[in-house]
């Protein structure tokens, strides 16, 4: 099962075993997520969550790369492209 979903870290704290656990918001739905593998993450960052574990962080700059490529592809006048900055 490779389904992993991006979500926003709302809070984080260490549990009695020394594992960092957090609350992640997925467009309104909040779940408890293990953040042990993303030690650099801060509240407000986006993580990729798979079966209750954050397996990586989302690089907001790289997230725009797909749209940069589309722009570079040429004539895009008249096309309203999605804005990754939009909430």
């Amino acid at each position: 099962m490779c389904l992993a979903v991006p979500g926003k870290v709302i809070e984080a704290a260490e549990n009695p075993l020394g594992m960092t656990m957090g609350t992640v918001d997925f467009g309104g739905i909040r779940k408890e997520v293990c953040l042990a593998w993303v030690p650099e993450v801060e509240v407000g960052d986006y993580v990729l969550v798979h079966v209750g574990f954050a397996i990586g962080t989302i690089d907001e700059e790289e997230a725009r790369a797909v749209f940069e490529t589309l722009r570079e592809m040429g004539d895009l006048e008249g096309l309203e492209l999605a804005d990754p900055e939009a909430p």
């Binding site: 490779c2 030690p39 999605a82 990754p84």
Partner: protein, 362 residues
């Protein structure tokens, strides 16, 4: 949803489709090897929008589908035991064994429960000390760290009534096996983006070099797949091979070393049988000897199992990308999601389930 919705735009998809049409000069075959990607391709209709000469085939990217029938039968035998609470991810519950499935065991009074995270299974073991909680640990490299963490946590907490049925498979050996087959027609691969989030991209380079194929690490949203396909096509048309990364917002070349560390600690690589394909050397994971007590197949003696595959199920051909689900004589008739003959029709990552759900009957 942020980082999801933006990658589903129609205008952007058209732009990539135009680029694909403009780049293609001859028939090409590209394989994706992740059930999540299969589903997006079919659900979004991309498979119908691509030029006919571009064949995108589905590989064995469904860990549920490639779990050997004997192992499913052993899991079912374990689930039948009265002291066992058998837990698993949802789609494993309806995979047919030789004569039953886990949901059938539940219907007959067995304690079978779906969990979202393997840690939930450990919690169940803590809450039910007089029972044995068994978790069906299935997956690719994406799921190995969570499953390893569950066993690690059980040991750390002294939870002894917890064990796993381990069915873990690795992607690179499967790609190698497919490319090494004399009948292979695949010229390029989309590598699974979430597997690579954990593993990084480096282990694909030797495969790309050895077989001289482009391998593009690709995400799961429609625009990701279109861009990944386009990048693969550009490489093929330009005579280039090697590893590229489309899913840069998440995948780094080094992957996630913290996640890999816990897998290294708990598991070791082993040979593994893939249902419908056969044994692929060094393509699976098993618990290391020092964690052997957490192996449910050792803890519970389930005796000799005689397996019986449906003679009508062509899952092996589906999983190797040599036949499409719609070509199967039983597709939609003798084999449906409600009454599946094989795993690819049941699993949320199976190609047959995707084709059936989104109406690809021909």
């Amino acid at each position: 949803m942020k980082f999801v919705d933006e990658y589903r735009g129609e205008a952007e998809a058209s732009r990539f489709l135009d680029a694909i049409r403009g780049t293609l000069t001859r028939p090409r075959t590209v394989m994706e090897i992740c059930g999540g990607q299969t589903h997006t391709l079919v659900k979004s209709g991309i498979d119908r929008m691509l030029p006919e000469e571009l064949s995108v085939v589905h590989g064995p990217g469904c860990p549920v589908c490639v779990t050997p029938l004997e192992q499913i039968d052993r899991a079912i035998a374990i689930a039948r035991r009265p002291e066992v609470i058998f837990t698993s991810f949802g789609d494993m519950l309806r995979v047919p064994g030789s004569d039953d499935d886990l949901l059938g065991i539940k219907a007959a009074g067995g304690d079978v429960r779906m969990v979202y995270s393997p840690l939930d299974a450990v919690k169940l073991a803590q809450a039910n000390p007089e029972r044995q909680v068994v978790f069906f640990a299935v997956g690719f490299e994406t799921t190995a760290p969570p499953n390893a963490m569950a066993v690690w946590q059980a040991r750390a907490l002294g939870v002894e009534n917890f064990s796993i049925v381990c069915s873990h498979v690795l992607v690179p050996p499967a790609i190698d096996a497919i490319l090494s087959s004399p009948e292979n027609r695949v010229e390029g691969f989309l590598a699974a983006g979430h597997v690579c989030t954990v593993m990084g991209t480096r282990e694909y380079a030797p495969i790309a070099d050895r077989h001289r194929v482009p391998i593009v690490v690709t995400g799961f949203e429609p625009l990701d797949l279109l861009q990944g396909i386009w990048m693969t096509l550009c490489a093929l048309e330009e005579g280039r091979y090697g590893v590229e990364n489309q899913y840069t917002r998440v995948v780094r070349p080094e992957g996630n070393r913290h996640a890999r560390a816990v897998v290294e600690q708990l598991f070791e690589v082993c040979d593994r049988r893939w249902r419908g394909i056969g044994t692929i050397p060094e393509s699976g994971l098993r618990l290391r000897p020092e964690f052997g007590s957490f192996d449910a197949e050792k803890r519970f003696e389930v005796g000799d199992i005689v397996t019986e595959e449906s003679p009508l199920c062509i899952a092996g051909q589906i999983l190797q990308g040599v036949a499409k689900p719609s070509a199967c004589s039983q597709f939609g008739t003798g084999c449906t999601p409600e009454h599946p003959l094989g795993a690819p029709m049941v699993s949320s990552e199976g190609a047959c389930a995707a084709y059936h759900r989104y109406g690809r009957v021909t």
